[in-house]
């Protein structure tokens, strides 16, 4: 933390030169465009993902603001109905498929997983690069389709609307299909890496919890993504060749579509939120200088969520005409997800107990995260309470709920990860004061945006409404005001992080004095992650115990 002697451009072989002047950091090891575009270094691939993911977040965010401005008044405000319908579709699709799903695994998973496992790279570096290009290819195709012709089905593509609409569905579906492969490839890569590339000393139960989370996420990705791939193909075929799969006019079943869709998309929620949980386990341990309270419970609960996450999809369909009994079954299974999440929450809070809390920016995001997870999770349980879901289904209550749990929690984790690992990735520090201010703004703005949406949903406002009855206006105005606060917070972050990239103070190897494994190497790390002998891993990660007082931690 103290500005050390090593104030130099990141990685340009500063201070302790005797060690690594021939081991430049991955950032400067090759500076041609080609050396980036064709790199097989997981860290460079992670950074490129970061660039694209942030760009798509910006696109999705702009569309979010357009939605909010449109909803400022009950009638038309800035656009016509068709444009609005395309706008929320674009917002949803971009945010889900291009931002949320890849965000943490593809950026921080890629960057940190090998570092945390003491490995030189992921198991299949070339495949890793391929997954980036598959993702970009699919993204471009989908975006092209959305801008040329424009799609208005919502990101859920429900049939028979999606097979009847005159807007162009096929390229977008195909784009999403392609992006799915990127997801699968990344998932396989992480699973194999975790199984085969752990450094000596890192047993399964000494893996950092972020690795556990990414591992569980990858399992879901590999198992669930093919289902949506299949579904998208079926819809395309139905569209192009008039198959009667989902369209009742041709003898199909529209509810079948919903089953297949949610069989993927419900676990997809955990693809978004499990990595977030993983990040937070790292952050809370690092900033309260404590071993994770109930490490095994947290690790197992990731697997538990991944598992029961597959059996809860029917809670999206309580009023779709499915049988009452089936509704009940899905309701109970939904409760189980809640219990696994509760285990994590309690153990995070337990981690702070008897810790040494340093209230830095990532920890501020942890606080926001705790709130969004508890509140978002509880509203999820409320939605799983079948009779309550009857009035809430497809209203703004649901919009608020999923923004709290998947967007809120994921964004908090994404920002926490960005701030926690920024020194590791770029070797520089950002301005703590501005960072705390923007964290406060974002957390406040987020609440101000979505708490009114819970209430307007209670009041009965359905989602995907371009116009609405007068009585919903006050809450909508509040929500829009909150959204501008939120957007302002992001602008500040963009400013000081860009500034820090160029002018930030050198971070040094481990500015947080964290005992996470990834901090055992230089910041930024050299191309093959470690210089000299590989670090050893005698202790579990985040073992902050005073050696003099240490009782041997063989417990749990």
């Amino acid at each position: 933390m103290t500005p050390s002697s090593s104030i130099a451009s990141p990685g340009a072989a500063p201070a302790h030169d005797e060690h690594h002047d021939h081991h430049p950091s991955y950032l400067v090891d090759g500076t041609t465009i080609k050396s980036w575009l064709l790199t097989v270094d997981h860290k460079r691939i992670g950074l490129m993902f970061l660039f694209w993911v942030l760009l798509f977040f910006l696109v999705g965010g702009i569309f979010a603001l357009l939605i909010r401005v449109e909803l400022l008044t009950p009638g038309p405000t800035i656009m016509d109905a068709m444009t609005y319908n395309r706008t929320f579709t674009l917002h949803g699709l971009v945010m889900i498929f291009l931002f949320m799903i890849p965000a943490i695994p593809a950026v921080f998973g890629n960057f940190m997983l090998p570092l945390m496992l003491g490995a030189k790279d992921v198991a299949f570096p070339r495949l890793n690069l391929l997954s980036l290009y598959i993702y970009l290819g699919g993204a471009m195709l989908a975006l092209w389709g959305m801008l040329n012709g424009g799609l208005d089905t919502g990101w859920t593509f429900y049939t028979p609307y999606s097979t009847h609409t005159t807007t162009t569905v096929a390229p977008v579906l195909f784009g999403a299909f392609i992006i799915g492969f990127s997801s699968i490839v990344t998932g396989i890569n992480f699973i194999v890496t975790t199984h085969t590339m752990r450094a000596p000393g890192i047993t399964w139960f000494k893996m950092p919890l972020f690795v556990w989370a990414i591992y569980a996420t990858s399992c879901i990705q590999v198992l669930a993504t093919p289902v949506i791939g299949l579904l998208l193909v079926l819809v395309t075929v139905e569209n192009l060749f008039s198959f009667g799969m989902f369209d009742p006019a041709r003898g199909g079943d529209p509810v079948l579509f919903q089953h297949l869709f949610w069989f993927y998309s419900h676990p997809a929620v955990y693809i978004m939120v499990l990595p977030a949980f993983g990040v937070m386990s790292e952050v809370v341990a690092a900033f309260s200088r404590k071993n994770i309270f109930g490490y095994r419970a947290v690790a197992y609960s990731s697997l538990g969520i991944a598992f029961v996450g597959f059996f809860a999809w029917g809670h999206h369909m309580f009023v779709s005409g499915q049988s009452t009994f089936v509704g009940g079954l899905f309701g109970v299974l939904t409760m189980l997800v809640g219990v696994f999440t509760a285990i994590k929450v309690f153990n995070w809070v337990g981690t702070v107990y008897k810790g040494a809390v340093d209230f830095k920016t990532p920890f501020a995001y942890f606080c926001g995260f705790l709130f969004f997870t508890v509140f978002g999770g509880m509203t999820g349980i409320a939605l799983g309470t079948v009779s309550l879901d009857v009035p809430w289904h497809d209203t703004y209550f649901v919009v608020a709920h999923f923004h709290f749990i998947m967007v809120g929690a994921t964004i908090m984790a994404f920002l926490a990860a960005l701030h926690y690992w920024f020194p590791k990735m770029f070797g520089r520090m950002y301005h703590e004061g501005w960072a705390l201010v923007s964290a406060a703004l974002i957390i406040l703005g987020f609440n101000a945006t979505f708490i009114p949406q819970f209430l307007v949903g209670n009041n009965g406002m359905p989602r995907r409404y371009y116009e609405y009855p007068e009585r919903f206006q006050a809450l909508n105005v509040a929500s829009t005001a909150g959204a501008s606060l939120l957007a302002f917070g992001f602008v500040i972050i963009a400013c000081y992080l860009t500034y820090a990239l160029v002018y930030g103070r050198a971070a040094g190897k481990n500015p947080w004095r964290s005992k996470g494994y990834e901090w055992l190497t230089e910041s930024p790390p050299p191309t093959h992650n470690f210089v000299g002998p590989q670090p050893t891993y005698p202790e579990e990660p985040h073992f902050y115990v005073d050696p003099k007082k240490a009782e041997v931690p063989d417990a749990v």
Binding site: H164, G321, L388
Partner: protein, 348 residues
């Protein structure tokens, strides 16, 4: 108390028996959620303060939960969640199981309007009249894409699916006018697919229903007088009867109780049929509709799977008409008295 909570939570007026149940559970759930969130939040806040870092490299104790702690972490939330679920599921079962004496109304969603039809009464667009304090069952279908029928004040919602009927019921408790919204995205004017439910005191409803019939009768006679107009087949049951003939149902199904290629329609509704696979099934609207759309799904014992599907051949309202026709055939001549007036036009 509950009035106050409803205001804080922005809940609309509660105007059905189901709404009262939903709100009670809602308060319970929100209450415990708030207490639990506050508990977690305050504990965290307390600890951030109590355990703030004093030295940059401070060491900490190695603390791990005991088995008992972990057990508490799991069981306390689980007990609450299951309790909510239990109550919620009981209420859900209740609202998806209409009482036998419920009055039926057919609801059809169509881009972008709601159509209502009473087996015995008028039809209408975007205005549904119902009596207070009498159970009403909605049989919901769609003409085109998915819609969802939502009345916030009654706290009920049910999807409208093309080619299929779904049902839900309610009992309105207060006369008044309540908004109906569509909550399944259905295209351009999804947000304008509004309608209203007018709840009338019981006697007024009966008067209204009579009025409607008389009015319609007058219309029809005017129409008959005007020879340039071919009068539409007026009553749902009549229309169903005609359709059953033109669609060929009656080639295989008798209406006088005699067995033919298929089972007779007489007394079919509400009968318990023995199926091929040994199970029993009670004939209701859903079963009749399914038998038209997917005849092989539940084959009645003793018959062959020869019936063609009517999927795509019959429109929602036509299906409804045939269902009504079959329902009318409870005994050989139950509908004798019902010819007193054409009630309404066929819903299109």
């Amino acid at each position: 108390m509950s009035e106050l909570l409803n205001n804080i939570l922005f809940l609309p007026e509660a105007a059905s028996t189901f709404a009262e149940r939903v709100d009670l559970l809602h308060h319970f759930v929100v209450g415990t959620t708030m207490v639990m969130s506050a508990g977690v939040g305050l504990a965290a806040l307390f600890m951030f303060f109590r355990y703030r870092r004093r030295l940059p490299a401070q060491a900490t104790e190695y603390v791990v939960p005991t088995l008992k702690t972990e057990f508490l972490f799991v069981s306390v939330p689980l007990v609450f969640f299951l309790a909510w679920f239990g109550i919620g599921f009981r209420d859900f079962t209740w609202v998806t199981t209409p009482p036998k004496d419920a009055m039926d109304v057919y609801v059809m969603g169509k881009q972008w309007m709601w159509k209502f039809a009473y087996p015995e009464g008028p039809n209408g667009v975007n205005v549904l009249h119902v009596p207070a304090n009498r159970p009403v069952r909605l049989l919901i279908t769609s003409r085109d894409v998915l819609h969802s029928f939502y009345v916030p004040a009654f706290r009920i919602k049910m999807d409208a699916l093309p080619g299929r009927y779904t049902q839900i019921w309610f009992e309105a408790t207060k006369p008044g006018t309540y908004q109906v919204l569509c909550t399944e995205y259905c295209g351009l004017s999804h947000s304008k697919m509004l309608a209203e439910v007018v709840v009338l005191p019981e006697e007024e409803f009966d008067v209204w229903m009579k009025e409607q019939r008389r009015g319609r009768l007058q219309d029809r006679q005017d129409a008959l007088a005007d020879t340039s107009l071919v009068p539409p087949v007026a009553r749902m049951v009549e229309q169903g009867q005609v359709l059953a003939g033109t669609q060929g149902c009656l080639k295989c199904h008798s209406v006088d109780g005699s067995q033919h290629i298929g089972p007779t329609f007489l007394g079919l509704y509400d009968r318990v049929e023995k199926l091929d696979d040994g199970q029993d099934i009670r004939v209701d609207e859903a079963y009749i509709t399914q038998s038209m759309m997917d005849p092989g799904a539940h084959l009645v014992a003793g018959y062959q799977n020869v019936m063609p599907t009517y999927q795509g051949k019959l429109q929602g309202p036509e299906t409804a008409a045939i269902v009504e026709y079959i329902k009318s055939l409870r005994t050989a001549n139950v509908r004798e008295g019902a010819s007193e007036g054409p009630a309404y036009d066929a819903i299109q």
